[in-house]
């Protein structure tokens, strides 16, 4: 994986987020404060604006730059979480100009770990972590097993989809939805939804429109 891949993935995620505006927005309106889509879009636009800066950077620095940019652009609860995610990924990849799948998987796990620490949250709290934790674990396992890219992506998407849907039946113990108690039941967590959308976008890019 190189920085070209990161840029392509960022573009794919950006497009996918825009394509899911309605659902993401209505989820945060239902159990949050209605800004999650706008926050994430603002983040995507900020990254799009610094694309030229990213091109010459090695992956580790590109992730760091992305993380710092998102940290100072998104705001809200998701800003520090997503920002920390990329910053930690960058840290894990330091010194590696073109990391392989296993290394990338370890970076993803480190990024998710950063979200857990920053948000003091874990599985089952009806947050983005309910999609990200299992996805990172699965990726690590499949990459270790040397699974081929297509199978890996299919499995990741299945996992993300079902875990995203599973947040519907959870009571939140973190984030704004927490204040709702049982009234949050029946609504998917917006952060879980954007995480699934982003994962789908990257997987689809890798399997269909893959450049490298």
């Amino acid at each position: 994986m190189n920085t070209q891949d990161i840029i392509a993935a960022a573009q794919a995620v950006h497009a996918a987020i825009l394509g899911n505006e309605q659902q993401i927005e209505s989820l945060d309106r239902a159990i949050g404060d209605g800004d999650h889509f706008i926050n994430v879009r603002r983040g995507c636009e900020a990254i799009a604006a610094i694309m030229p800066e990213l091109v010459p950077l090695p992956p580790a620095q590109a992730f760091n730059r992305i993380g710092m940019k998102l940290l100072s652009t998104i705001g809200g609860a998701s800003g520090p979480l997503i920002g920390s995610f990329f910053i930690s990924m960058g840290k894990e990849l330091e010194g590696s100009p073109e990391p392989d799948a296993k290394h990338f998987a370890r970076a993803l796990v480190a990024g998710v770990e950063a979200i857990k620490n920053r948000g003091k949250a874990d599985l089952g709290e009806k947050t983005m972590l309910d999609v990200l934790i299992p996805a990172s674990r699965l990726l690590l396992r499949l990459a270790d097993e040397g699974c081929d890219r297509d199978t890996l992506c299919t499995r990741l998407k299945e996992e993300a989809e079902s875990n995203m849907l599973a947040t519907r039946d959870m009571i939140a113990t973190k984030g704004r939805a927490h204040f709702l108690g049982e009234r949050a039941l029946g609504h998917i967590d917006p952060g879980a939804k954007t995480s699934q959308v982003a994962l789908f976008a990257v997987c689809d890019m890798l399997t269909v429109g893959a450049a490298s």
């Binding site: 309106r29 949050g32 209605g34 800004d35 100072s72 705001g75 809200g76 520090p80 973190k174 204040f179």
Partner: protein, 327 residues
Amino acid sequence: MKKFVNDVEQLLQESLQGLATAHSDLLTLHLDPTFVTRKQLPQPKVALISGGGSGHEPLHCGLIGTGMLDAACPGQVFTSPTPDQMLAAAAAVDRGKGVLFIVKNYAGDVMNFQMAVEMMPQPCATVLVNDDVAVERSTHGTGRRGVAGTLIVEKMVGAAAEAGASLDQCKVLGDRVNSRTASMGVAFTSCTVPAAGRATFDIAEDEMEFGVGIHGEPGRRRGLVRPAQELVNELMAAILGDLQPKPGSEVLLHVNGFGGTPLIELYLLYHCANQLLEGQGLKVARSLVGNYTTALEMAGASLTVTLLDEEMKSLWDAPVHTVALRW
């Protein structure tokens, strides 16, 4: 959505420019990153910084000035600001006696301020305000929300800082004022985040959201609208249940409008709440009525009670010169 706006993306910045121009005697606007500071920075004192999502005006930028905040970091509407804003604000107003962040207890605000704290070179501390009794304390959760009581914390800590209190003293005082303050509100309508373009929640013509948050988040329950006195009774039962004031205690009563409720109704609420408190043997020693911690144009109001003592009374009475509070 009908709003006075040119380009939604520019709303916050244009509005801040208007604020800074209209009050150029009091405020300075900084951009990239965005924060607002007090025009005249006084003698060395603890620097007080607050911030949070916009849409709650006059909180917080309208509370910058003598006897209150030194700076505020406005985020996008209902979205907490980012660490770079807080770091830049701290660098601008730190007078060498440390920085105190006053933060409403929301995951986003807490995490962003926390990241700033981790990156700060200066000595600093944070007061988390969580006065909203609508959503019960729980051991697992993020805890209660910070709402209209924030202004009271900022006023009293602001007075103490102005009078030379140390960072530690300010932190202890802020926590104490917060622990003696409880709030709860009710909304009749939703509000519309400009960038979203549509109401955050739907609510029927005869319904209210009881225990609503200041972002139009749902609260305890949806119910039918009832007479003002009954609403006040129920809000106050929750508030006093939390504060457990001793008979004869002196309190500050703050009736806060969420933006879309006219003053004529806010004063009626004050009348009902004041009578209730006095009827329970409490003394309403200080009062504040108006739209201070708003949720854009949401119709509704919250009640806040702070248990006073002599020190807190004199901190409340101390001179203040900001856009929204002045005496």
